[in-house]
Symmetry: D2
Subunit: 169 residues, 4 copies
């Protein structure tokens, strides 16, 4: 459970203890389905958005990885759905690097209702490093080191890594 | 309006008179929203699927266009929504080439409930030809001619052409 | 054109003169397509997110509308695509109420690259008021008045309104 | 591996031995991403489409379930991605009921390139039965029995269960 935030703190992206990185996403209408809840496939999209922001905070943004010739592609994903979210809900996606190895990296996720802390889903994604042609490669040192850190954002200056979507600011 | 189809006829792609090409799409759960109807942005996706099948039938498949260095990118889109569709509905997307010019092509769409013919939406998309780098170009002759035809699929024998199992279908 | 923001200012939602409401959205990987640009259907999704935030700022949040028995459904949409955006881009969606009448409301949109102000797309959506059963109705006065305002957010103190942690955020 | 189909047979939905149900889906442009491959979240959407068609073939269509007051909601999902698919590819989604119990059902999936049989992904989804209010319930007998069958479609008359999207016909 997330400890209560100090009143007035509204940073959507917050580093918590234990290497967890928090990112808040507001549910779009288009992400709901006829059961009036978030369609389950969108949890993978939320995890990807949070993962993108975590690696940005770790100093190894996706975009720079790609420009320097290395992408990380999803090799596996799993998710347990515990409770449902509806339109306009704020979802706190808590993310951390689970393990980095020479050729792969995995991330762990906890999605919570940002208002009351209720657990919505838990998940994990596994990725491999590939070069521009899609061939699996050993991850470049600058990326592996960035992801390792001590499991926590090396530098994390919220303004710089500016949270665009940022529904809560 | 589509004349009622003979019972038992279930061809998803049918050429109608007037150059209209019919393509039937079933609504996925993920395409609905909390109003229990198809989310409006998905109509653009349905139009794109139908357009893809029309140009395939016209002998100028998207994929071949791209492989030969010319894409058509969307420059404009409009849609009027007349009635809503729900999960599992069959939508008949009626498509035709509206106009082809040296640098652009536009398509017209009518989406109908495939079971009762009710009009769901009408739309139009406008596209420009671009080369591999994204620069607007004059459309290659083989594409322009294919799109012109007489506004109707040049060859359209979908049972047989499937049976031949050619690699791009 | 948006005047350059002072460095360090990172408010994603800003009221500009002329009733335009600004909302910044970062492009997700899942929103791009094989042309490496944002798939055009997602512009409707971006417009919807921005519209949702505008009506919230105007004091008539979607969710409250629905809870009080009135929704606004999309009756028409159009968009001209001027330039493309790629993964991780920040898009400033500028939105304003174009016209409110007893049974319908329309919105206008300008999407710009948030970094350099380049125009990406212009669009318009038209909506009708419906009751819980989907029947078109005259818009309730509290909604119509909220949308009219003078075309500009009645109250818009988003730092504070977040800090107050009111239930509709 | 799917045994070769008799020439001229173009049924997109085919029952194979072992209770596997085959459903072919063509990749839409909107489902690809900037890596030029199908975005991973769409595999959950493909699985859902195939699952929808399997339960229809088993005589327990989603829509009828919902109309009779019981839905199945996704409680868990996992997927391993083995190879990538690109725009216009035909993907054969092989689906079977893995296990039915009083309160839950799980499905297994194998996604293959429909042209060459290459394995693209393997997955599993787990679902619970819920009533109209979202409360977990014991699955109604008609649904449980339908899902059990002997693991294979009870009746499977392709024309009736008509394959709308049906890209290969």
């Amino acid at each position: 459970m997330t400890p209560p935030e100090p009143a007035g703190s509204a940073d959507p992206a917050v580093l918590q203890s234990g290497g967890w990185f928090d990112w808040v996403i507001r549910v779009r209408y288009s992400e709901t389905d006829a059961q009036r809840i978030v369609h389950h496939a969108n949890y993978l999209v939320y995890m990807e958005e949070a993962r993108t922001e975590l690696v940005r905070a770790l100093g190894v943004p996706y975009k720079e990885m790609e420009e320097r010739g290395c992408s990380i592609v999803v090799a596996g994903a799993e998710c347990s759905f515990r409770a449902s979210a509806v339109f306009d809900d704020l979802i706190r996606v808590r993310t951390r690097v689970e393990r980095v190895r020479s050729r792969e990296v995995s991330f762990q996720f906890r999605l919570e209702d940002a208002q009351n802390g209720r657990l919505l889903a838990e998940g994990r994604t596994r990725h491999v490093f590939v070069d521009g042609s899609g061939k699996v490669i050993t991850g470049p040192e600058w990326i592996v080191r960035g992801l390792q850190g001590d499991g926590r954002p090396r530098r994390f200056q919220h303004r710089e890594s500016f949270a665009s979507r940022d529904p809560v600011r």
